[in-house]
Subunit: 305 residues, 2 copies
């Protein structure tokens, strides 16, 4: 699905902080969509930024976030979750009143609570989490299509101006995303189950496989462990920021795994078949993958605000 | 990779028992390879067999395994693991001396032990497990390329004639597979980790996800749970036949998951990062996917017999 060209840019200058897989893909998608006149890439390594520019992902670049923020009407922080708060604050200090900052962080509770003063200030922060990504890293893996048909969760606070929430929503819609709203805590509880728990299990499975069995793996093992190839530092920060909901999800998982293990150990065919049938039914309910070609409105989502 | 046409067929008539995803794909691949003059599809439902014939997967079909076995030089049993022993015995009773029976079962210990009398009899059974498949079911999902570059594990017993093992190996190689040999018990111990454990975890994860979070899943959750969409009856039988090794693998997994959970719960950044790094290293070691374009010989495999 390609969006229709927009009649005029939504924004003038957007600064993307952190030009990796997500930031690079977002920059490319924003340029392609015509949603802004200019995309500035912000990062620490000028050589990598120059390469991202040469690859056509960004228009210009800056190694100084303050300088980029001064010129931008919107800043989108795509750095690791443990750097987002500092980057948002640095940007906010330089931007004109009425400007918007959002992010792409996988956790929202701590970030949105710490930045609560920016929901009603002259510069607004609106939390975002685009549910798109990959185990790959770096702008070299970036693709403008990464967001097409996927869901972006917005996590405004009660006092966040509606117009700034709408402005944030339009940016994600411009790159092809559906959007919904959740409270930061509801987001974190849900993502503990849908993203962080699968990552923890994939990692534990990868740790469990004896080396001598590696050559006997097939697509099933590979798919089940794929996310364990994700960046260890990024995921350490995510797990730390969402520790409590994740520990709860791990406990719920362990209970179900214990049931399954008991049925296997006791040769209880009826229970085993019943559990595997339920599991298949749940998994089948997910397919076909979430209506990738529709841009559904918020009310389709059970948590829609 | 397409195999070079063989100078002459390896076999005259091959009967494939169970024309589902694996049997149908194998029939199509054998026909395409020119490894035999005729492929007979054997099943219970004549309408489905007629459709498989119309789809070009099989040359002819039989609903009576005995009739098919009488005409075949090789029978390949692709039925669920809890039906393989009976199907092999039925076929063996009808086949001429010197004939070969193999299978495609995901477990090998119980099957090969029960059929041990057929390793040295006039009709030989050689256990096989092609490590290829999908969560999909039915010949409608069959594809001749399913086996290309994948590994097939052969599990002969000490008294299985070498010539029959070699004959089995050539059939799997004809459809593009690499081969190795393991004892039936070594196979089952390994597959408990590489296939049955991932399936159990994917199923338990699918059971754990609260329904209201389904719309918040993305590719990570989908990949991690993909195999849970597999047929519940097939997998109940697999888990039952390999219960003891699977319970051991589940215990090993639970130990690693408990370590990871403790690091998350205690905010132990160093341990958490260390575990996720190790997990990533293990997962990265699997890629690129097992040299799909080479037809490596048995000695590359640590268990090669």
């Amino acid at each position: 699905m390609r969006n229709l060209p927009l009649p005029s840019p939504l924004e003038d200058t957007i600064a993307i902080v952190g030009v990796g897989l997500i930031g690079g893909s977002l920059a490319a998608a924003l340029k392609q969509s015509g949603a802004c006149r200019e995309v500035i890439g912000v990062g620490r390594d000028p050589r990598r930024l120059k390469n991202a520019q040469a690859a056509g992902l960004i228009d210009t670049f800056e190694t100084d976030l303050r300088a980029a923020a001064k010129r931008a009407s919107v800043v989108i922080v795509c750095t690791p979750v443990d750097r987002i708060i500092a980057d948002v604050r640095t940007a906010a200090a330089e931007m004109s009143p009425g400007s918007l900052i959002t992010d792409a962080g996988s956790t929202k509770g701590a970030i949105c609570a710490t930045l609560a003063e920016l929901s009603s200030g002259p510069v607004t922060f609106v939390g975002s989490h685009p549910l798109a990504g990959s185990e790959k890293q770096g702008f070299e893996a970036a693709a403008a299509e990464l967001f097409q048909g996927r869901l972006c969760v917005l996590t405004p606070l009660p006092d966040t101006p509606a117009a700034q929430v709408e402005r944030t929503r339009r940016l994600w819609q411009a790159v092809g995303m559906r959007t919904c709203e959740l409270t930061p805590d509801d987001h974190d509880s849900a993502l503990a189950y849908t993203s962080h728990l699968p990552h923890a299990l994939a990692s534990a499975l990868s740790l469990t496989l004896p080396d001598e069995y590696q050559t006997l793996t097939a697509t099933g093992y590979r798919d089940t462990t794929r996310v364990a190839a994700g960046d260890a530092e990024l995921w350490t920060a995510i797990f730390r920021q969402n520790a409590q909901p994740l520990v709860a999800a791990l406990a719920a998982f362990s209970t179900r795994l214990a049931e399954l293990t008991a049925a296997i150990a006791h040769g209880d065919e009826a229970s085993l078949q019943n559990l595997l049938r339920q599991a298949k039914r749940h998994r089948d309910a997910l397919d076909p993958p979430s209506s990738a070609s529709t841009n559904s409105s918020a009310h389709e989502h059970p948590f829609a605000g």
